[in-house]
Symmetry: C2
Subunit: 202 residues, 2 copies
């Protein structure tokens, strides 16, 4: 029985937090002091492309929770005229928790909600020409996204980046490029079935 208990929790007891908490903790894992506002900006330029772009209010709430758990600490930086900032820093316990999570969390499946794919799936409701327009629009948007990722990749300040962070941004670019390719093939495929589908003549 005790053996069984040991087996279910082999390591230290990880606080049972959602992975987004660990995302925030990860942003702080460089051991620099950052404000909620800073975190938000940085997340928009990195996490955004493969994980999450959190709202500010959520970040603040998350920081308070992590502080309550002793995973981050807080100090207030007075700045004279300017509004004081609340700076957060990861604690040893926090570093430990995020490291354990990264190493041992179960590989839970990716959350993907692709509303364009959903709409193409329902293409029979709107016809081939409308689907074509929709996909074309999406491809254009994806091209812009790639540009954003490339910019983030190229302009990342040295102290926020490393081989892993760079590799993931390159991975994200490749994935978006693959998406453009795959949608291109999808369009070609649908076109080949055109004679069989009712569609307005151009």
């Amino acid at each position: 029985m005790t053996a069984k208990q040991r087996k279910t929790r082999p390591q230290a007891v990880l606080p049972d937090l959602p992975s987004t908490s660990y995302a925030v903790l990860g942003l702080l894992s460089g051991e620099r002091e950052l404000s909620g506002y800073d975190l938000r900006k940085w997340a928009s330029n990195s996490l955004h492309f493969f994980y999450w772009s959190p709202s500010l209010s959520h970040i603040y709430a998350e920081l308070r929770r992590l502080e309550g758990l002793g995973l981050v600490s807080q100090r207030i930086e007075p700045r004279g005229e300017l509004r004081a900032r609340r700076l957060y820093r990861i604690t040893p316990a926090g570093l430990d928790a995020v490291r354990t999570w990264v190493r041992t969390a179960p590989v839970d499946s990716t959350v993907l909600k692709h509303s364009v794919a959903l709409r193409v799936w329902l293409g029979h409701l709107i016809g081939l020409d409308s689907v074509h327009d929709l996909v074309a629009e999406h491809i254009a948007a994806t091209e812009m996204l790639i540009t954003d990722i490339r910019r983030a990749h190229d302009t990342a300040p040295a102290e926020t980046t490393n081989a892993y962070a760079q590799a993931i941004l390159e991975w994200a670019q490749e994935m978006q490029a693959a998406e453009i390719d795959a949608f291109g093939r999808l369009q070609a495929k649908l076109d080949r079935t055109r004679p069989a589908l009712p569609a307005k003549a151009s």
Copy 2:
């Protein structure tokens, strides 16, 4: 002023529903009568791969909401010994709503929460060997997912499929294959930097 109002809502007034409601409505757009349980099964074999795999309780709640809006109708099918089923069918208004949504909804960006990417991004906390293990595990899981998609593609009953649904399942397979490729390249890339990173000898 009236011109302005007309401009913000150019078409019929679409009920302001989350896209997941339209996903459920889309499942019913084939105009067959289906139970909540049926929808769940079907979603797990189609929507699951590119959009969403809803919980049963959510589907039931969604159906009640759609019924309240007059977008689906309900009837109870008595089945003697067996527990009666509640069968839902899309109404003309519902068909109209989902069609309008598919055609005119803004291309809102894909929601992607890729926790493996997040963990690789934090790879500096655990070192190259651990990242390798993590990625290898993920690639294996992705291969299984491709198998699932292929099975769904090949076994889809004729009355639930069409050229669009098939094309999206093929698209989903290609995307997962691309993910395996991209992670493979990421691993190779990280290996090339190995001399610069501290890692245990094998």
